[in-house]
């Protein structure tokens, strides 16, 4: 007698769940395609014209982008510092092993999640509307953005520290301020620096385009050269952006490797 195969349910035998998920996925793609108008004419003339003009960069424009590039880096540094420092006390409030009150933790995390859901360009648009055009708006936008990001990275790091030193200090009668300074900070300090550099990398990238909305830095030149159809100058701006981003990434990666 042939050994009987174990019976499979109808759902499993015909892979109903897998097939229906696939179907949903295909429908989603088709609907998205319809809503975004994918498949319209792609004008290769225009596109290649753009690239041909950009492939002959106007090097004489290089000196005039140096100053805004400098401001871009300054904005990113200042914004990251403000946001990063502000994130420290707030992330302590959200860490499970520091604050035992679940309500406070939940509230802090909820508010910070709301902050984190806004991309930096939107923050820049808001700050330009409130504060006005200039690097100050850019710095504020980057500060709020880094605040949210550093907060998340930091409180997760604080939650994974070794509990031993905290308990030892508690047993010796230390107050919570002393516990934070002598047990928490030494354990997360290197990680803090590493997160700081990582946030800085992202902010450098962001700050290069913030100027498009008038929030300071090189992005403004992106806007003006494109509007004047000076693509030969646009390519200088893009090359400058690429150079800054790559240089900062390399330096930051080196430093982070040493910290780890």
């Amino acid at each position: 007698m042939m050994p009987e195969l174990p019976k499979r349910s109808f759902l499993k035998e015909w892979h109903v769940i897998g097939f229906s998920l696939f179907l949903v996925f295909v429908i989603l793609i088709l609907m998205s395609g319809k809503s975004t108008g994918v498949g319209q004419d792609f004008s290769w003339d225009q596109f290649s014209d753009l690239w041909i003009k950009m492939s002959k960069p106007d090097w004489s424009y290089l000196p005039s982008v140096m100053k805004p590039i400098e401001q871009t880096v300054q904005m990113a540094l200042a914004g990251t510092l403000l946001g990063g420092v502000a994130a420290v006390p707030v992330s302590l409030l959200a860490a499970k092993n520091i604050v035992k009150n679940a309500f406070v933790r939940g509230l802090v995390r909820f508010l910070m999640n709301l902050t984190r859901s806004l991309p930096e360009m939107l923050l820049a648009a808001l700050f330009v509307a409130v504060v006005g055009i200039g690097a100050f708006s850019g710095m504020c936008a980057l500060a709020v953005f880094s605040f949210g990001m550093m907060f998340k990275l930091l409180y997760e790091a604080i939650e994974t520290i070794d509990e031993g030193p905290i308990e030892a200090l508690k047993a010796a009668g230390a107050n919570s301020f002393q516990i934070i300074v002598y047990a928490v900070v030494p354990q997360v300090f290197n990680q803090f620096l590493s997160f700081f550099l990582y946030t800085l990398e992202i902010n450098i990238r962001a700050s290069t385009v913030l100027g498009y909305l008038g929030a300071g830095g090189i992005g403004l030149y992106l806007n003006t050269t494109l509007e004047l159809f000076r693509y030969d100058r646009t390519s200088i701006v893009i090359l400058a952006i690429l150079a800054v981003v790559i240089v900062v990434d390399v330096i930051s990666n080196q430093l982070r490797e040493r910290l780890a």
Binding site: T36, F47, G134, A135, F136, T208
Partner: protein
């Protein structure tokens, strides 16, 4: 000799501190504080009032010019962009993955360089370029995101490929399987959950990116926001901001739940 080293060690932290402080003084010196508008306070409170008294009538009007359709378009851009780039990223990832232990790997180095260039190229600039090719609209946004995300996903995918367990591959080779068999039966099943995880992660980021593409006319919810900001209709700004926050939060939550089950 020993003394000198300890002296250097004593000075080192102070030197670093001084350098860091100098860098930040330089950074803050470049931020002009004079550009702040006199109306800043007033505008701030107007936006706050707008946030608490949002323009609910804008949420759904049925003519396709409302918040819901703008948000759906944003999601569609992010979804399609991520889908396209997830597919394009796979060959790039295999190109960039370092699979042999030799000291110099030109193929992998070339792939990594390529991916870095794609990743570093600002997506807003890409979006502007694509609007020149296909005209303003969501299609340009899809193309920009689809191209830009390849850089990040290719990098993450290639790292997943590098961390693959070689055992199954060797077993298939020992049983007489070809390289393609090894790829299809050992490597792919191993990296697929990670690929999906990274794709979902990138989708979360793409939703955020897609909501700003409207600034350059590449579709999504960014355009009505900029328009509302420039016409100072704060209650509309309020409802759009609430819409973006809700959309991003919900997507993050769903994607996080799926990713938890994948790993």
């Amino acid at each position: 000799m020993n003394m000198k080293k300890s002296l250097f060690k004593k000075i080192e932290p102070w030197a670093i501190t001084v350098v860091v402080i100098a860098i930040f003084i330089w950074a803050f010196s470049g931020i002009p504080l004079t550009g702040i508008k006199d109306t800043a306070r007033q505008v701030f409170f107007s936006i706050m009032r707008g946030l608490f008294h949002p323009d609910w009538s804008y949420v759904y009007t049925g003519d396709g010019e409302d918040l819901v359709s703008a948000l759906l378009e944003t999601l569609a851009i992010a979804f399609l962009g991520t889908f396209i780039s997830a597919i394009i990223a796979v060959p790039f990832a295999f190109l960039a993955a370092r699979t042999n232990a030799k000291l110099f790997a030109p193929r992998s180095a070339f792939g990594k360089l390529l991916l870095t260039i794609i990743r570093v190229f600002p997506e807003l600039v890409l979006a502007i370029m694509f609007t020149k090719a296909v005209g303003p609209g969501a299609y340009a946004g899809v193309l920009a995101l689809g191209f830009h995300s390849v850089g990040m996903m290719g990098k993450l995918f290639s790292e997943a490929i590098e961390n693959v367990d070689h055992g199954p591959n060797e077993a298939i080779a020992a049983a007489g399987g070809s390289g393609l068999d090894g790829l299809a039966l050992a490597t792919f099943p191993d990296v697929l959950p990670e690929f999906m995880n990274y794709t979902l992660y990138r989708f979360e980021i793409s939703v955020r990116s897609a909501s700003i593409l409207g600034i350059v006319g590449a579709g999504g919810v960014g355009a009505p926001l900029i328009f509302a900001l420039s016409t100072r209709s704060w209650s509309r700004v309020g409802i759009i901001l609430i819409g973006i926050v809700v959309m991003v939060t919900v997507i993050d939550f769903i994607s996080g739940q799926i990713r938890k089950r994948l790993v």
